[in-house]
Symmetry: C2
Subunit: 450 residues, 2 copies
């Protein structure tokens, strides 16, 4: 989106103007490319999470009330109305906490936006170009509003992906519905009236409910506005508007300054908390450079930031979930299997003999000189040779992004066992040329079980 | 609900216990009677609002995505899934701002609760006794939580009927679904994660969207919890829980003290916000006592509580809806037409010449010595005579309640022209003996157009 002068008295209208003026033609190539990476990563997460108990329970509760089968559920057979598809695919995509992250705001940008516009694209004809533009404008909208209220909003206890994500969904869906400037103001207001999510719900199924419900609420907001359902035209900036109620000292200039927040989006290569990613990265670097096998390894020493031992200090994980909180398991499984995807944090992976044996030869040491995004991994081989890797920025961060090929690999790993491999290949291909598709709905249709 | 000791560390669980232990057998007769008055008044509002543009626009936007015709829309022909019925009937019932009010919290208790459980009662067998108990427990839940966060929550800018109403819907629906104590905690947590409504949206269609969406969100919360969808078990009292995020200095004892908040529910004789009722009452008293005609009036001075000007300060309303937020219009139309029903807040009534002229001679003055339920109306006649009415409690308040017959009259007035009069009579009768019905769903079925 282009920049515009800051007028805090007219903030919503200015934002609405940027949204409705957005066009694929005006997107830099780097932005288009990043949008397709974001899309592909999200699609993999949505398929990968589709069999999770969280999704099963939500479907068991809501399926009897769903509307016509207008939209696909990623990785599943059911088809439901576009509102419930937004909710359920949004849940599915966040359930592993493996989706994209906008580090400056802590928003997971795709989860509230992508499911709403993918569902819409199954219901009405939407070209790939319009779809990619809507995805970008949705992400820009939520990340800009998120930046405007950072840090006070998150610090107050809100789960920003749900509370701010709803604006992204409303903006993206509203753009595709062709809302007028006034209707877009109303859509943003209807979004403002429906924040979803408190951090208190972290650790329960409700965490992934937040972005799903935000997707549904934003789509509802856009649909209502498109039929003349009126709302405030100053929902953000009014005296008792969203900024005032939900934040302190909002930074209005974040709304309209010239930047592409999607270029600051990042994707996780490993299916666990970011804190342990540098160690995994170091292990994989050494494994790949020296073609290491576990039986060649005598011991692994890792110098780590203190947070690593605070958050991932479990020595003998009893389950896949505990494995995500074990630097011992993370390092061992990365060296044994050459990966640290969702499969490497399954109950089976935690119990696998080779990994369990190597786990006892992992020796982390806290070093406060090691930064939060750093680690030093030293592997001593049985032949006494020592290999050292110092990780300055873990792979997957904005400074050292995952390659396109690595994201594809991640998606294959997530979808494996859920969809046939030729179908996964086809979905990956559709995402890679999403902006050239005549019918963006094809991405969603092909992501369901046949 | 019975009282229980206050433990702020266990607030949600205690509330959940009270909810799941509630039984019709334990309700005092006065509570049962008030519940039926609340129900009847709500049904009248839902039928009366059913043809409003707000409802039409919402249906136009959402009907293509609705599920099977499980539940009726009051006063209309369409049948939709129970979630959308909750939303749409909730909107319909609040669109005239003519529904019930719990003055201590400013919550409209029935709008978020009644549509959810009436829809549920069409979908599964629910006796009249269980239905009335659920209505009461829903209202107790929302009003108690509302009391606990009054005044800070409302003062922050939230529309409490939507933000707190969602708890009422979750509690009532959850009670009917037979949730366990843990599930009820989850349902309350899923409700806490989905507040709806900012006061900034007052004066637009979104105001009535708030209780409707709260009804839908609460029902969704209860349905999810019933299928094992987990959430926080301390959503209210946790460090970053709902009380902390949404209020300051919550009063925990309000949650469990022995009281029946439904006995403090009140029904409006006038079709606008309660805040302006004392002024209307004063105007009508003087008009009736002195047989005033508008051309005899030089000016009208009204000493009012500060909230009157905060909430109803629109000087020149451009529509009937804006007229509801104009103390100028409310006073003028009451003096011109001798009434302040829905008809007096139509677009035509706002444009009528005599009212528009008198509106410019209405002079409200804020006086902080005037209580929220009070007003002093001073009419200066063209012959210089001054007439004064001091209203201590407006008609329709708990201190000066509408009679059962007056509520029935109001319902007939609201439903007239929408349903045939024998059908209205039948619906009024069903509400009057709601607790004796074998099938509470009958109330909803009979309230739809044949």
């Amino acid at each position: 989106m282009d920049s515009a002068p800051d007028h805090s008295k007219d903030a919503t209208r200015q934002l609405a103007r940027l949204i409705i003026a957005s066009r694929f033609e005006d997107l830099p190539e780097s932005v288009r490319h990043e949008a397709k990476r974001t899309l592909l990563n999200w699609v993999g997460c949505a398929i990968g999470g589709s069999g999770h108990k969280t999704v099963n329970n939500a479907i068991a509760a809501l399926l009897p009330f769903c509307g016509p089968g207008q939209a696909s559920l990623f990785g599943r057979r059911e088809h439901v109305d576009i509102l419930h598809a937004s909710l359920l695919n949004g849940i599915s995509s966040h359930v592993f906490d493996f989706d994209d992250t906008h580090a400056a705001t802590a928003i997971h940008p795709a989860a509230p936006v992508a499911p709403a516009i993918l569902a819409l694209a199954e219901h009405q004809p939407i070209s790939g170009r319009d779809f990619i533009n809507a995805l970008v404008v949705g992400i820009e909208t939520e990340c800009r509003i998120g930046k405007a209220v950072t840090p006070s909003h998150y610090e107050a206890g809100w789960h920003i992906t749900g509370t701010v994500g709803v604006f992204g969904s409303a903006a993206a869906a509203g753009r595709l519905l062709g809302l007028s400037e006034q209707q877009m103001c109303w859509a943003l207001a209807l979004a403002a009236a429906q924040p979803v999510g408190l951090q208190e719900m972290f650790g329960s199924m409700t965490k992934s409910f937040h972005p799903g419900q935000a997707a549904q609420n934003g789509l509802t907001a856009a649909l209502l506005a498109s039929k003349g359902f009126t709302s405030s035209e100053q929902p953000l900036e009014a005296k008792r508007g969203w900024f005032d109620v939900m934040s302190t000292k909002p930074n209005y200039s974040a709304l309209t300054e010239e930047s592409w927040e999607i270029l600051n989006n990042s994707y996780k290569p490993f299916a666990c908390g970011l804190v342990v990613h540098p160690v995994i990265d170091g292990c994989l670097q050494l494994r790949n450079a020296h073609r290491l096998t576990p039986d060649a390894i005598d011991r692994v020493d890792a110098d780590v930031n203190p947070r690593v031992m605070m958050l991932t200090g479990i020595k003998e994980p009893a389950s896949g979930l505990e494995g995500k909180f074990s630097v011992y398991h993370a390092a061992a499984v990365a060296l044994v299997e050459g990966a640290a995807g969702e499969r490497q944090f399954s109950d089976e992976a935690v119990r696998a003999q080779a990994t369990a044996e190597l786990r006892r030869r992992i020796f982390p040491s806290v070093d406060s000189a090691i930064g939060k995004v750093q680690a030093r991994v030293t592997i001593t081989l049985k032949n006494a040779k020592r290999l050292v890797a110092f990780v300055e920025h873990a792979v997957g961060s904005v400074k050292k992004p995952m390659s396109d090929a690595a994201i594809e690999q991640k998606v294959f790993g997530l979808a494996d066992g859920i969809l046939p491999s030729d179908q996964i290949r086809h979905v990956v291909d559709l995402c890679g040329r999403a902006d050239q598709l005549d019918d963006a709905g094809e991405i969603a249709r092909r992501s369901a079980k046949a």
